[in-house]
């Protein structure tokens, strides 16, 4: 287990503490992801000047407002597209995208799959709390069937996306899943995702007690209950390899699900520049 950086250090180096407290509800999963991101950044000794956060609209996107880092808080769903432009213009920057499940998979689904397809060198972290938290708890494209939400008062019949599968289908080269509960693993996953040279996708199962928990007590009502549920229902990818499909049903498989190397897009594009500058059309 790698070293944990003291919170005091993180606070001092990265936070604008005058912006705290956060606006989140008690037990919200957004903060945990924030910890993991900052721990990884600090552990990797990234130059904070070169780290840019691109944050989506939604509760989870609110994390970045508390930090002393470049931060582009963009339109709902557009973060991967914005980050793609930024990375192409400035390949020297380390770009971390923070989105919610609605932001990433609903309105932003197309940008997400295209970022994956291009293998653009950004890290996209999606906080999947199974709900639109920020707008008061409507179901999202990841909300499990039968869930109650303010827009599915009779129980949802929409099948959900498996975000990681979607990413694999879209051609992503790094796909991982973690949970808020497994915070130590999560830091490692963030680190691995950042280190991955192409597009890295990390899904984090995160509690939204207010908008999801209260209406769907099966997975816990309060923050601690929801973390407990995560603890009890997660299986590492290693273990999962030895389990039957049946016994995996309803389980959260955590870890790195896919990791392969393909040319990173901004680097690949450099070849286009070379060819263009040599003059000939290919």
């Amino acid at each position: 287990m790698a070293k944990i950086i003291p919170q005091a250090t993180i606070l001092e180096k990265y936070f604008v503490t005058s912006t705290l407290p956060t606006q989140w509800c008690p037990g919200c999963g957004a903060g945990g992801i924030g910890h993991a991101v900052l721990q990884a950044i600090e552990r990797m000794q990234l130059d904070p000047k070169k780290v840019v956060l691109v944050s989506g609209i939604g509760c989870n996107g609110h994390f970045t407002r508390h930090l002393r880092l470049d931060d582009l808080h963009v339109l709902h769903g557009r973060a991967p597209a914005v980050a793609t432009g930024l990375k192409m213009a400035r390949p020297d920057l380390e770009i971390i995208v923070i989105q919610g499940d609605g932001d990433a998979a609903s309105i932003g689904g197309n940008h997400l799959i295209h970022a994956a397809r291009r293998n653009i060198g950004i890290t996209t972290i999606v906080s999947n709390n199974y709900i639109y938290g920020r707008t008061g708890g409507q179901y999202s494209p990841t909300t499990p069937k039968k869930s109650i939400s303010t827009s599915s008062p009779f129980g949802l019949e929409d099948p959900p996306f498996e975000l990681c599968n979607l990413m694999v289908g879209a051609g992503a080269t790094f796909v991982a899943r973690g949970t808020s509960y497994h915070i130590i693993q999560l830091i490692d996953l963030v680190e691995r995702a950042i280190k991955h040279p192409g597009f890295a996708f990390l899904e984090v199962i995160a509690p939204c007690p207010t908008s999801y928990g209260r209406k769907n007590p099966e997975t816990g009502i309060t923050g601690p209950q929801m973390l407990q549920w995560q603890k009890e229902n997660s299986v590492s990818i290693k273990k999962a390899a030895h389990m039957s499909e049946e016994s995996l049903r309803g389980k959260i498989v955590t870890g790195i699900l896919l990791d392969r190397i393909e040319p990173e897009y901004s680097a690949a594009y450099a070849k286009v520049r070379q060819r263009a500058q040599k003059g000939g059309l290919a």
């Binding site: 606006q23 989140w24 509800c25 509760c59 938290g133 920020r134 008061g136 207010t210």
Partner: protein, 193 residues
């Protein structure tokens, strides 16, 4: 004449709920005109909360839907008391929950101060229905609506399983008024703060 009531405090104190009950009791069950409006913010939780209710006789339409000068101001926290205390009519009444409001605000109105939240918790075992207690008090003091209408509205709007405690709270509020335990402060003193 339109009666202007402002309910103010923190998010989570249930002011929107009692605003709607009051409006429904007056408007639907007593056939008056009633408007309830809310200062609307982007926060998911917490922060300040404000709910205005305007009530007028059936034949008189309500135009502007926000309180301009309150006949009745309820302030459930200090910030609310400070911010709105000045916008009360000379003839108005300011009701403070001294559980939270430690410093009476500058106001032209008459102040009624009482630790509603504490007392509710004491009497009903939970502070949650404090809003309904206060609702009963306001309705009485302002002579806004009758109890029957309030009961109907509460029954209609209470979430499942909550109507019983809310009705208890309503009774508590009526009792508080009747028994005269609500402490009164004169205007003049307040002006000095």
């Amino acid at each position: 004449m339109t009666t202007e009531i402002r309910l103010s405090g923190s998010g989570g104190q249930g002011l929107l709920f009692i605003g709607r009950i009051l409006a429904e009791a007056a408007g639907v069950f007593e056939g008056k005109n009633a408007v309830q409006s809310t200062s609307y913010g982007g926060q998911v939780r917490g922060g300040s909360s404000r709910s205005d209710v305007l009530i007028s006789p059936a034949e008189e339409e309500i135009d502007f839907p926000e309180v301009m000068d309150a006949d009745l101001l309820l302030a459930m926290n200090q910030e609310a008391a400070d911010e709105y205390g000045g916008k009360v009519k000379q003839s108005g009444v300011v009701i403070l929950d001294t559980t939270f409001v430690k410093q009476p605000p500058k106001t032209r109105g008459r102040i009624i101060a009482y630790p509603f939240t504490l007392k509710t918790k004491e009497r009903l075992g939970s502070a949650l229905p404090t809003n309904v207690v206060v609702l009963a008090v306001i309705s009485q003091i302002g002579a806004l609506v009758g109890k029957e209408a309030l009961v109907r509205a509460i029954k209609k709007r209470s979430p499942k399983g909550k109507d019983e405690i809310n009705l208890q709270a309503l009774n508590l509020g009526f009792e508080l008024v009747k028994t005269g335990v609500l402490q009164r402060d004169g205007d003049d003193e307040r002006e000095l703060h």
